[in-house]
């Protein structure tokens, strides 16, 4: 029997606003399956986003959801987690939302290692506003604000998260649909800040401008560049040129923020 997505989707909210071929829908389905696997109870779960095409995701989900301000998902989510530490808090949004205007909140949530799962959909562009370059637009690629190619170097989101202190960091692509839910589920189960970077496609604002003939072409590229971490260990630097590592990139156990906070309260009040 086909998987029942409907039970997680708000009645009357479909069709969604995403363009045909947009990767965000694949990520949403992955998220639904992951949340299902983890047996998350609707009322004990909050899904928080910023602004952007990716950030429209929570609007379709039949959970407690917050569609907030551009770049602020992690800050809103921190507020929720601090007062309701028993809740499962999931953030989602785009590369622009999370690493440009919201970069500060993102790295500080990582640093605190607060228990939430941040699904960041990296389509290399500001999709919603029509394709201006983001901190993740590969150097040389075209955006509406850089018709001759982007001169800026990029953020590697996963590395950024690891460097900032997230304790579970994984990456996959929208081509690897079944890996999306596995990694998100692992992230949800992990206690601490989990970041799952999903490389996905914006055919409308990125693909067309960068001479991808079709969404299939874009998907093929995702398939080609992805190298699982285990396979990469056996490859040479030359072989890894232009590739992107996928799978669990980093995992460590470290004290979680709300736990530490509760302990502090107990210690001070107990004394």
């Amino acid at each position: 029997m086909a998987y029942d997505y409907e039970k997680s989707i708000r009645p009357g909210k479909l069709p969604h606003i995403w363009c045909p071929g947009c990767g965000h829908g694949i990520v949403m389905k992955g998220l639904i399956r992951a949340m299902d696997t983890c047996g998350l109870e609707k009322n004990n779960t909050a899904i928080v986003s910023g602004i952007g095409c990716a950030s429209r995701l929570p609007g379709y989900m039949d959970f407690n959801t917050l569609h907030t301000a551009h770049g602020r998902a992690a800050a809103f989510a921190t507020g929720i987690k601090m007062v309701k530490p028993e809740m499962t808090v999931i953030c989602c949004g785009g590369d622009g939302d999370g690493t440009a205007i919201g970069g500060n909140h993102f790295i500080h949530a990582c640093r605190r290692n607060i228990d939430m799962t941040y699904v960041i959909m990296n389509n290399y562009i500001y999709g919603m506003t029509g394709g201006q370059f983001s901190p993740c637009t590969p150097t040389g690629m075209k955006a509406s604000t850089t018709p001759y190619g982007n001169p800026d170097p990029i953020f590697d989101i996963s590395k950024l998260a690891i460097g900032a202190g997230a304790t579970f960091v994984a990456r996959t692509t929208s081509f690897h649909a079944t890996q999306i839910d596995k990694l998100i589920a692992e992230g949800i189960k992990h206690k601490g800040m989990s970041v799952i970077e999903v490389l996905d496609d914006c055919p409308t604002s990125y693909g067309r401008r960068n001479k991808f003939r079709s969404v299939v072409d874009m998907m093929k590229r995702l398939k080609e560049v992805a190298v699982p971490v285990a396979a990469a260990a056996k490859m040479t630097d030359e072989q890894l040129e232009g590739k992107v590592l996928t799978g669990v990139l980093f995992k460590e156990e470290r004290a979680e923020y709300t736990d530490q906070y509760a302990k502090l309260i107990a210690r001070v009040q107990g004394a």
Partner: protein
Amino acid sequence: MKRTLLTGNGAAAWGARLAGVEYLPAFPITPQTEIIETIARWIDFGEMDCRMVTLDSEHSMITAAGAAAVTGVRVFTATSSQGLLYGMEMLYTVAGWRAPFVLVNVSRGLASPITLEPDHNDILAARDSGFLQLHCATCQEVLDCILLAYRLAEDERVRLPVIVNLDGFYLSFTREPVEIPDAESVARFLPPFDPENLGFRAGAPLSEAVAVIGGTPYSYFRYQSHLAALNAVDVFAENAAAFAQAFGRTYQAVEAYHCDDAELVFVMMGSFATKAKEAVDRLREAGEAVGLLRPVLLRPFPAADFRRALSGKKGVIVVDQNLSMGKGGVLHTELASALYGYPGTTPVLVSFIGGLGGRDISAEEFYEMHAVTRQAVSEKRAPAPRLLYTEVELREMKKIQAIARVQGLKEQQT
């Protein structure tokens, strides 16, 4: 000079291009983005010699704009709504630096709830920041006001940043015929920025600042900015005269439409005032002595112009496309304080709130506002401020609420 069809955003980009801006820190936001994209294209095609950087937010964008302007280059930037508010801290900061540059704001209603369409709460939030404000009603005005704004900002009697405001969608995406002046005439009207005492001079500073100051010097500097802003009333008039001579188009701090013999006068700002013009025409056809005043300059507030234009009038219909929660319309408040206590007959001021989130204001509503005000004049007392909202809309709203199950939840709670 050439005449062509341009959107408000296109006109803004042309204004920046003709002004010869040298630096554009940018960040996209609907409905402004077309401005920075147009300029990006010109830069890439070598048609414009300007440096452009898309920063990581409006906060850094306005910071970069202010910093660049005080090194003595001509700077342009643009934003809208949430972006303007996100940069608010820096609006105050760079205005305090007396950094002369021009920022275009494309008005859009503020969250929450979220809308893409225009009202003026965004721009009015910047009212007290030290930025001067010019409000446009047509695409031509957008281009022209940018040129006027640079002359105003850079004038040594003023030296303050200026926001040029246009309404999202109604102007940003609407094509109108626009005369694009030729570059030579613009260069004569607006020569390259002469920064005089601005710029880097290591070892020979103009003044040595201290990091934190007390109330006495603080008050002094804040008041200096205020006085500089007030100077802008006369400087604007001077510049507008020079502009009229150069380009044949006349601008006034407050545009008056059929006001001389009017008994009742609409006061509105922005592109929605063109709807009021239309209503004035229709009402005049029906024999009503009615006119319209539209402030182009909102900061500094052209109080004397309003007093002059409204002296002897019976009633004023203030239509605010903004809402100060717990008070009402901002323009109404400003106008009341400008008129109160001055000699001459004080007209009855009637306040309406309309056009929030781009909601249309219909001709019938203009007639209704006019009728209500006439009644108020005959009774010599203003009615309570009113939101323009129809029964049909309210019914629609109830339906939407029912769908959103807000109603159901409420019932559960009670």
